[in-house]
Symmetry: C2
Subunit: 246 residues, 2 copies
């Protein structure tokens, strides 16, 4: 058994309105049925023109106040608040719950790898819809049915370092449910649900890196213990009511 991850090299800089699915289909190695294409959120946001010019933002007193406490750019804080439904922590870094329900630093608002000094990228409005559109377009152009995972780099409590996780999923499992399945000795398994889409996103990060300009990875050979291939990024978001740490 073998799993392969292949870098999609040579993609051009992605601008607003780019046919990202078409470009991926063109530049990917020959695709095979069942391949899952991991796409960095940043280029999805660029193609969808989810960029914001910080210099046009009106700064609220909340943002002003938070920014001075955090020693941050008040315009960036305003952009983060605009993308958030709640501030989870504002001690050293601004951790928020985004409009999607993701809990992450700065609502995924990010200055890196964006042209223009005052420009930031925002997360796609609906990451599953973005994954879905990419999946349909890549499948259309390549003629091969693939899955798509849109990934971004998030921190987490308790452990140092960030990892890539899945924000949007289409044509691919997100969670594998082992509840009720027997272990090697016939007793029920302890690990109930495994977030395979997050593991796929993290695996792809190992090839993407942060400085190699490789925002798309093909994952080949996934054999997931799951009949249902129709996962979503939403499934991976724990509802606030069930979360002990929000």
């Amino acid at each position: 058994m073998k799993l392969e991850l292949l870098a999609v090299e040579g993609l051009p800089e992605i601008g607003a309105g780019a046919d990202l699915g078409g470009l991926i289909a063109q530049h990917a190695p020959t695709l095979e049925t069942g391949d899952v294409i991991v796409v960095a959120q940043k280029i999805v946001s660029k193609a969808e023109n989810r960029l914001k010019d910080l210099s046009v933002l009106e700064i609220s007193s909340d943002a002003q106040h938070l920014a001075s406490r955090l020693d941050a750019d008040p315009r960036l804080v305003q952009a983060v608040l605009n993308e958030s439904v709640r501030v989870v922590r504002d001690d050293r870094v601004l951790i928020v719950e985004t409009n999607h329900g993701f809990v992450c630093a700065n609502a995924g608002v990010d200055r890196s790898n964006i042209p223009g000094a005052d420009m930031v990228s925002l997360l796609p409005v609906d990451c599953d819809a973005s994954a879905d559109a990419l999946q349909r377009r890549i499948t259309e152009v390549s003629g091969v049915k693939v899955g798509v995972v849109i990934s971004d780099t998030f921190g987490r409590p308790w452990r140092n370092g960030l990892t890539n996780v899945a924000l949007g999923v289409a044509g691919c499992v997100a969670l594998v449910d082992y509840r009720g399945r027997p272990d090697d000795f016939g007793r029920p398994l302890n690990a109930t649900m495994v977030a395979v889409a997050d593991e796929i996103a993290g695996a792809a990060e190992l090839l993407m890196g942060k400085t190699r300009r490789i925002p798309v990875i093909v994952v080949r050979g996934l054999v997931l213990d799951c009949a249902d291939a129709s996962g979503t990024g939403k499934e991976l978001v724990r509802p606030a009511s069930l979360d002990l740490f929000r």
Copy 2:
């Protein structure tokens, strides 16, 4: 660029005192310098005889009390408390900080895939030392210098599903530090530290599954943006004093 994950198939059931490193070297596909071998904690614990017979435990009143609140086996709760320095949450599930500093459910004490109705497995006493010993033994038997990651399946706040993370690391990077490195447009990168050892562990889980009896995976082709290959699992543990969610 390409990353490959290869299953190590045909390993026998691992018992106490087994030469696990030797068995891995024997059953792995021909190893190459730079390969990283991901080993499931469960078989490391079995080889190190980190098993506990619940029926011999003396149950404290604390464990009794917690068990009735959680509707859990008081003996299992006692085993968890014995491996813990602090209870982080005891609402629906027992989340503790282990003697190592890991924050996880049930201190990693686990009944699944262990022979004997009253037996549980405990995490290795020192996961980096276990990784180190395996690394030296596999390198000795195979003649090829490899890295080792010992992985287990942990939950996390905010997101549904569990993922595999790295408990012990030897001869491999754990964290890649991007601080100060420029992005494509010359500005400093936002994502400062990436927990690549956790991403390696998660990637390997995709092949391991939970019901395939494949507890060892070879990861080939890692190109990490990091000069220093001597990471540890300890680096991945956020100190309690810096953790906003403990």
